[in-house]
Symmetry: C2
Subunit: 195 residues, 2 copies
């Protein structure tokens, strides 16, 4: 990676960390510069304004990072009931850079920014849409294989599961990570009953 590309990546990575913990609006450009040692000239050379940087951060850091945890494990799923639960367990308990106190960076940004910035909203929708599609597809495969009842609506299940994730991330921020285990238990009951 060239030195310039390195500077750009550094800005995005550090911005991600700060925004994940503090929120987008609460993270100032000066705050980012202070923690990256990058100068204002470099920042505004790489991004024409804060929002352009924020959008790049969503597309280049958050989207691929979350996609790998949320969607990839469901592609070529063998048993949707187990695989969806396992995907959720890993996302909630095992992904190292996510902390209960700070929730999920994608959920946080949807919450804070989707009413305020249409571009952010669309970029984040892309992730949740693809996640819902992957869940729906795996449920449909479960229906084909007989693991899931024929009367189950795959799209509804996908919506319900994604909402559950966003919600438990919210709850975890205030109540702590203990609720993750309770949620995972009850998610298992819900998923089992689809079969």
């Amino acid at each position: 990676m060239s030195k310039a590309a390195n500077t750009r990546t550094m800005i995005l990575t550090k911005s991600f960390e700060l925004i994940y913990k503090q929120g987008y609006q609460a993270t100032s450009i000066d705050n980012i510069l202070a923690t990256t040692q990058v100068t204002k000239g470099a920042f505004f050379y790489h991004f024409k304004n804060k929002d352009e940087m924020g959008l790049a951060m969503i597309n280049e850091i958050i989207f691929p990072g979350m996609y790998a945890s949320l969607v990839t494990p469901l592609l070529n799923a063998k048993s949707p009931i187990n695989d969806i639960h396992e995907m959720m367990r890993i996302v909630l308990l095992k992904v190292p850079f996510l902390r209960a106190k700070y929730g999920c960076p994608a959920v946080n940004l949807i919450e804070e920014m989707s009413p305020l910035n249409e571009e952010f909203k669309q970029a984040l929708l892309k992730l949740t849409d693809q996640w819902q599609d992957a869940i729906k597809e795996s449920i449909n495969q479960g229906k084909a294989s007989g693991e899931v009842r024929a009367d189950v609506n795959a799209e509804y299940v996908a919506c319900f599961v994604v909402a559950g994730y966003s919600g438990i991330r919210n709850m975890g921020k205030a109540a702590g990570s203990a609720c993750y285990n309770i949620y995972l238990q009850e998610l298992k009951n819900y998923l089992k009953q689809l079969g």
Copy 2:
């Protein structure tokens, strides 16, 4: 209500509206003053700083407002499966001052402020704790009456339902209110299967 108390209430009410739509940190005191016609002197007479106002807003506007929609309908519930679903339907589709685009004011504040302000977090936890207790209690009554299976864990169900609500509020911000109906359908399936 005395004139002074009226000023105070006006500040809290207008602040609620602005913070609901813009977020807490994005709503400046000057912004509140401009929309209320209240002067800075009056604001700082009633509240020693912005956070004290925010806390009062949570306790005096958000808590009672949401409690009436979330908890009250479950006290003396006759049929938990129907009553929980009906409570959710009304909260999502009928409460007039709530909009899909802006989500739920309590969920928004948990998301934005619980990692940053311990007092806010505790005040908001009080609401979600009482909501979970009310759900748990109604499930337990359902178990007593035989409507709900004996092996159902009421606490787990309460956590799962509250997470679902927070999550669908988050999803609705980006995806619009159409997902509310899908969620309600699948919530009905989930609740039915408890019986």
